[in-house]
């Protein structure tokens, strides 16, 4: 029973929710409830714990009864009492679950998703659909058994999910995701038949074999820790002449095992796909997760190679997405991972999804130089030689390169890292110089992006170059934002007849706010501003509406030339 009658709002005890400022058009949209058994799926641990404790007590009581430890109560009364208490507790919990379930309702209208919850402390929350940063469908193991799924709707509030619907039937969750994405994309939908919205097709780009994931875990830092610990324990044991030291190995073993397990659990069966709705990722061993990151939501991206992965030429791709927040827990870290382990070709394929236009003629060579190169090949600018003592190992690798669409930042010798920030995603940037830096005439540039695992930085670069980059980047970011794609990625956009993206004048004056660039300005940015329909924008002469992209048709998978070798991009050595 997922659909409650539309009269839920009139239920006694439920405050009228007109105060939120809903439009009349939204009145007809039915309020719905999550699946009936979801509290059970959510609270199963508590239930099991209570059953365990009560059950154990009762079970032990069976054996203690003979010894008379139970006290003066006759056998039958004690059992009855225990049974009654157990029943009462279970009923109480069930009632709590039921009330919580009953008072949690959600609604998806043309522009908002709303959730009302709580009995005593009520919460009414609404989030704008076009603010979506990412949508996840999560299936914990128990929910998977029941065929249920949790839908997470992320907006840019760094961490906490704006809307969590736990749990829906898997099909309902998928349909809801498709609806939300279609509306967020700005696709005109038939209001009479909202069920007509189909899920956008997707094309698989990268698939990881279990062997690769296991190999990546084996070659991860956990193995190094294990080896070092093993040697240390062995040496200690020999020196002290006692085997008791070996017991200290157990917690290390547990920790390393946990690391392996989480690497396996979050990388197992990893699939990355492209669709008109953005990048899709699905993975998971016991708990499965399907993430969708709409176009233009990736704020920064990093490609990291740990020392042992160099043996196999593997990389990990992590991203900052505004909705995911700082990757504190293992689960968050997995969410912010676009590719847990991939070859250079797969990394380039993922890069092509995130950055369809690399802004350079030689993307493959450039990104390869960023991933493994050193010195000033492919337009990289590195730390000057005079400052090599500030970074004796990394100075030849620390560097940056600018393309017309993104900034590449390279660093690290043992842990090689390449960070890519699209120009239009820079929030702010700062230039820093300490006394030592000043002595060597170098500066460090730091880019601020939304919270996440990636922190873009240009280490110790020549001060004059740094200032050029600082000012240049500020200008490039401003220009990229002006010509940036609309947040509603399927909205029809107006394009000037002679499309000359490189030559459009850049308005600079503070008074120049009229849309003279070739793309109409994004109609939404700050929470206070309402969406203006694109049709209301008066087209200036020479502009023609471009037909909106169709969500139903799968566009070509973007990839960088030279194209990856035949056999598809997902040439996984299986």
């Amino acid at each position: 029973m997922t659909t409650a009658p539309g009269t839920g709002g009139e239920h006694p005890g439920v405050a009228p929710h007109a105060a939120v400022g809903e439009k009349d058009a939204d009145a007809g949209v039915p309020w719905q409830r999550v699946h009936f058994i979801s509290p059970l799926v959510r609270g199963w641990i508590a239930l099991v714990a209570i059953l365990y404790f009560v059950g154990r007590d009762w079970f032990e009581g069976l054996f203690d009864a003979g010894s008379g430890a139970r006290g003066p109560l006759p056998e039958g009364v004690g059992l009855l009492l225990a049974g009654g208490v157990l029943l009462g507790v279970v009923l109480l919990i069930a009632a709590g679950f039921f009330v919580a379930w009953y008072f949690t309702r959600y609604q998806v209208t043309a522009e908002h998703v709303r959730v009302h919850s709580g009995v005593i402390f009520r919460q009414q929350r609404q989030a704008r659909l076009d603010r979506v940063q990412a949508i996840d469908i999560v299936q914990p193991l128990l929910a998977r058994i029941f065929g249920l799924a949790e839908l997470k709707f992320e907006v840019a509030d760094a961490g906490e999910s704006a809307v969590r619907l736990a749990f829906l039937k898997l099909d309902d969750a998928r349909r809801l995701r498709a609806t939300i994405l279609a509306r967020a994309a700005g696709v005109e939908t038939d209001p009479e038949h909202p069920e007509d919205i189909v899920e956008a097709p997707e094309r698989e780009v990268v698939a990881l074999s279990p062997g690769r994931v296991i190999g990546a875990a084996v070659l991860s830092g956990a193995t190094v820790v294990l080896l070092v610990a093993a040697v240390a324990v062995f040496v200690l044991g020999v020196v002290l002449g006692t085997a008791i030291v070996a017991t200290s190995f157990i917690p290390i073993l547990i920790g390393v095992g946990g690391a392996y397990w989480s690497a396996l659990g979050t990388g197992y069966n990893f699939r990355a796909a492209t669709s008109p709705d953005g990048i899709r990722m699905r993975y998971g061993l016991l708990d499965t997760r399907a993430q969708t990151v709409p176009p233009g939501r990736v704020q920064a991206l990093s490609i990291v190679q740990s020392p042992l992965w160099r043996l196999k030429g593997w990389y990990r791709v992590s991203v900052n997405v505004a909705g995911y927040g700082a990757a504190a827990s293992g689960e968050d870290q997995a969410r912010a991972t676009l590719l847990p382990v991939g070859t250079r070709e797969e990394v380039l394929q993922i890069l092509a999804l995130v950055l369809p236009d690399p802004g350079t003629e030689r993307p493959v060579e450039l990104f390869s130089a960023g991933m493994t190169g050193r010195d000033d090949g492919e337009g990289f600018v590195t730390t000057p030689r005079r400052a090599r003592w500030l970074a004796p190992l990394a100075w030849r690798r620390n560097g940056f390169a600018v393309t017309s669409t993104a900034l590449l930042m390279r660093s690290g010798v043992l842990w090689r890292q390449l960070v890519v920030v699209p120009h239009e995603r820079t929030q702010s940037l700062s230039i820093e110089q300490g006394p030592l830096d000043r002595r060597f005439r170098v500066s460090t540039l730091q880019f601020q992006t939304t919270p996440g695992p990636v922190s873009p930085r240009v280490h110790q670069t020549d001060s004059d170059v740094a200032w050029d980059l600082f000012h240049g980047q500020a200008a490039r970011a401003a220009e990229a934002r002006r010509r940036g794609a609309p947040e509603q990625w399927m909205k029809p956009i107006l394009v000037r007849e002679p499309a000359a993206p490189g030559t459009a004048p850049v308005p600079a004056g503070p008074t120049d706010v009229t849309p003279t660039t070739d793309v109409t300005p994004t109609t939404d940015a700050l929470p206070t501003r309402d969406v203006t329909p694109t049709t209301d924008v008066t087209p200036t002469t020479g502009e023609q509406p471009v037909p909106p992209g169709t969500r139903e048709v799968m566009p070509e998978v973007p990839s960088y030339v030279p194209a990856p070798p035949a056999g598809g991009p997902a040439d996984d050595p299986r």
């Binding site: 704020q299 702010s428 601020q448 939304t450 500020a474 401003a478």
Partner: protein, 171 residues
């Protein structure tokens, strides 16, 4: 204001109110006094004979001396630190600079600003100054302009909001 090596050329920096220096000095005096009192506790205990012989003599003297030297050093640095704070409004972005030894200049595009904060503490209110803070979608954006005269802070806030609205962009 004095030009620093890290300054970009051709920029007119606005500097903060000289009253901010007085606020900082007051705060510095208060803070230094508290620390000095805390650091002098062992010395007083030794001199009054409550503690005998345990902390060696040089330790009880060195502790407040060190705190004193540190306080004097920070005090001497204060005018330069305040003088190093500057901001510049450009067409598309706001520049904020700070720091004497560890210099930092930050550029915040108007279109990236999510909101602007003005904070006034009791001491700041007494001196008629305020602190302006810019927030973007990144918590790491630590663009802070302390020590603005209240009317200048209000003007800047209105100006930034207006410019932010006309140049707004998504995330």
């Amino acid at each position: 204001m004095r030009s620093e090596p890290i300054d970009p050329s051709g920029l007119e920096w606005s500097r903060v109110s000289p009253r901010y220096l007085r606020v900082r000095i007051l705060g510095w005096l208060l803070g230094s006094l508290v620390w000095l009192v805390i650091a002098s506790v062992p010395l007083v205990l030794r001199l009054t004979g409550v503690w005998d012989s345990f902390p060696p003599g040089w330790v009880v003297w060195a502790l407040p001396a060190l705190v004193l030297v540190g306080a004097v050093w920070r005090g001497l640095l204060l005018p330069r630190q305040v003088a190093a704070i500057g901001y510049a409004e450009r067409d598309d972005d706001l520049l904020v600079r700070q720091g004497v030894f560890f210099q930092r200049t930050m550029v915040v595009p108007y279109g990236r600003m999510q909101y602007v904060d003005i904070a006034v503490g009791p001491l700041q209110r007494a001196f008629g100054i305020c602190t302006l803070k810019l927030h973007t979608a990144s918590p790491a954006t630590n663009a802070l302009i302390p020590g603005l005269p209240t009317e200048e802070g209000t003007r800047l806030r209105e100006q930034l909001s207006a410019r932010g609205e006309s140049r707004l962009a998504g995330l």
